[in-house]
Structure formats: C-alpha cells, structure tokens
Symmetry: C2
C-alpha cells in the first residue's frame, strides 16, 4: 500500500514549504518509498485530528498514522530496515538527535527572522489570518518588523553556519561521502526558505551553498524541481 | 607496548589542561588502552619535532607518532577495531565531524573568552611569555581584556549550548543511552575550563551541568580526580 502524507501547501497547491515535511519527503526518497502527498493548509486541523494528529508532517502507512519529522524518521528506519539506512548505525542515530536540535535552534531560528513576512505572500488566503496572528503573538511584533533588519541579520546567520562550513572542508555531506538523514534535517530549513522567499541566504562562494546545491540534486532533483524562488 | 602521549601540563605537572589531550585520553579509556602520559610544556616544541609533530596531543604507538585529536581518534578506531567503537558506526563517525566542528567553533570559542586570563596563573613559569604573547596577538588585546566582560559573555555561552540542552531532553549522552567519542569531544572543553579556572560556567539546574557530571564520572572518575577548580 502506498504511503500517504499530509504536506503543507500554499495558495499554489504545488508550493510545499514546510521544512519538517521536506525532512520526511527526503527520508522517504532515501528509503526508496513512494509517497502520495496530500496538500494541507494550516486551517485544516480537522483532517489531522481524524488521525490523532495536530501538525504536519503526518504520515499514513496503512492503518498507522505517525506525526513529527523525527518520530517519522525513526519509524521508517525501524519499519523498513532492509532499505538504505537513514542514520548509518546507532551512533549516527544518536548524533542525529543533536544535529536535529542544532538545525532547529540555530538554522530554523535564524532563517525565520529572514523570511517570515515573505511566507504570507505565498500562503493560501484562508491561512493568512491564522498564520499572521499566531506568529506575531510568538514574536511579539509584526512579521514585517521581525525581518526588517534582515540585511544585517543574515550576517549573523551566515556566521552561525560556521560548524557546517568547517565540516565541509573534510567531507561533502554531514553523512560523510554520501548524504544521510542528518543532511536532510539541516537542508529542510534551506528548502523552506527558497520555497517562500527570494531573499539570498548564502554567498555564492560559500561551501554551504555548494552543499545546498548537492542536496537540491538528490533523488533526481526532488527538492529542486518545485515552485520556489531560486 | 604501552602507548605514550605528550600531554600539556601546568606549573603543577599533574595539572593537565589541554582540551584536545582530554579528548584523546577519554578515547583511550573508552578503548581500554592504557597510556603513559608525558607532561609537556608549550616551549618544548623540540620534543614534538623529534616525532614530526608540532602540537599536543601527540600519541606514540610503537614506531608510529600520530598528532591531532581527530586524527588520533580515527587512528584508534582503525587500529583497534576489536575494542569498543568510538563512533558507533560510519554514520556516527561522519556526524562526529560536524559535532567536532561545533565543539571547536561554539564551545571552545565561547569558553576561551571566559577563562583565558586564568590560564596564565596555572602555567609553568617558562610558558607564560609564549602563551601571553601568542594569545594576545590572536585576540588583538590583553588576555585580561578578553575575559573582562565574562559575567555577560557567560550568558551568550549558555544560550549557545541550547542544541545540547534540547538533545539532553531525550537521551543522556550525545552518543545516546551511553557515551561515545562525540561526548568526549564536547566535554574536552569543559574539562579544560575546570582545570584552569574557578569561573562558574553553568547554572546548577542546567541539564548540561548534569551531563558534565556524568562525563566526570566515566572510567572511574578519570577526568574528575585531577587538579582542578570544581
């Protein structure tokens, strides 16, 4: 039975911009598991509640519903062990927990300050009020104010990527010579940003940009060939 | 044949404070390999040059001399594969490269601003001029000026540890249920700091502090039972 997954979409149903959904779509591709994605909007909480979920990604595998990008990755690794490993062993799985935390605390937290007001422009009209209200409450200011100083903030963001850059001196992927799920975890944020904003995140000669391009090439251009800004 | 290792020492030859040497000593303990450490001071470059090295840690294994804490860890993993793994598989080794970079770029770079002037007080008198001159050139200011605002800087440092803290919500070590070499890589910095300075780095209720205590307990208190400030 084909896997199905609720996947956040914009006004254009083909614009799929959730970073956490991208982590899962890349994990499914790495496992060679086809998936039927179902476009979902923020206001459609009832569609997820039906399966006991509250947020996307929500994966449906036969009778089972699995939520949360990390939980889904572990579920896929355990349920489909005969397919290529997402983690490259137990040490890799454990370290991926830390890299997942770094991606959320540093990469995602840095990116949101650079593109959050741009998201509104690609949202389905029915999602705009929910998105603006919930995010402005979180930041305590308008979304436009959050990203107002992004030309300066992007320098901080680039500096915070230094560990990634240092690692790329010795290997082409976080996973080593070939990508592992840790690459998709970090890349999810970059993919999210390019799906919602034309803002330039990385200098052209940044090794992180070269890695991002390699990630866009994976699985026949799975992440590249979608509605996006760059 | 017993392994030997040049290990940075202070005025008290028992005070061994190099974070990179600690990474290796913990790796050797994890592999169950006894080592004879040789106290070494910064001005003794000739002792290392004899073996083709420039910096500690420098490990002597029979006829072979291996430098650099990362290179030594890989050497031990490859040379003693029948002993407990440092990385927990290839995925773990690849991810450890990133965590090593994070430890250097974030943890070490943060710590040095908090304790660098205190180091001078524990150095062997013959090392003081070399250390002060080389480090002040690197910072472009006196060591006292570097750590002058440490009561404020420590807040930045604690905030930068957030990925570690998030990970510790779900597992007790970077290595998962048990420590792996990635734990020693990060811990090396904390061990360095406690060997040279009484400055309090972590709040008592910080999960990172609980992890640090667990690391101090490893291998019969190998890192705890040494000349240190806390």
């Amino acid at each position: 039975m084909t896997l199905r997954m609720y996947d956040l979409a914009g006004a254009d149903p083909a614009r799929r911009f959730s970073p956490y959904c991208w982590r899962v779509k890349l994990a499914l591709a790495a496992k060679g598991l086809p998936v039927e994605t179902i476009p979902w909007r923020f206001v459609q909480k009832d569609l997820l509640a039906r399966h006991g979920g509250e947020k996307v990604p929500l994966l449906l595998d036969g009778d089972r519903a699995v939520s949360d990008s990390w939980t889904i990755a572990e579920y896929l690794e355990e349920t489909y062990p005969e397919r290529p490993s997402l983690f490259g062993g137990e040490g890799g799985r454990a370290s991926a927990r830390f890299i997942n935390a770094w991606a959320d605390a540093v990469v995602m937290a840095g990116l949101v300050r650079l593109v959050v007001a741009d998201i509104v422009k690609v949202l389905d009209p029915g999602d705009v009020e929910y998105f603006r209200t919930s995010r402005e409450a979180r930041f305590g200011m308008s979304l436009e104010a959050v990203q107002a100083d992004r030309d300066r903030q992007v320098e901080v963001f680039r500096k915070d990527l230094q560990p990634l850059r240092m690692m790329l001196r010795t290997q082409p992927f976080l996973g080593g010579a070939a990508p592992l799920h840790v690459d998709s975890i970090v890349f999810g944020g970059f993919q999210w940003a390019r799906c919602v904003s034309p803002f330039k995140l990385l200098a052209a000669d940044d090794p992180v940009e070269a890695w991002r391009q390699r990630m866009l090439d994976l699985h026949g251009g799975l992440a590249r060939d979608v509605p996006a800004f760059d």
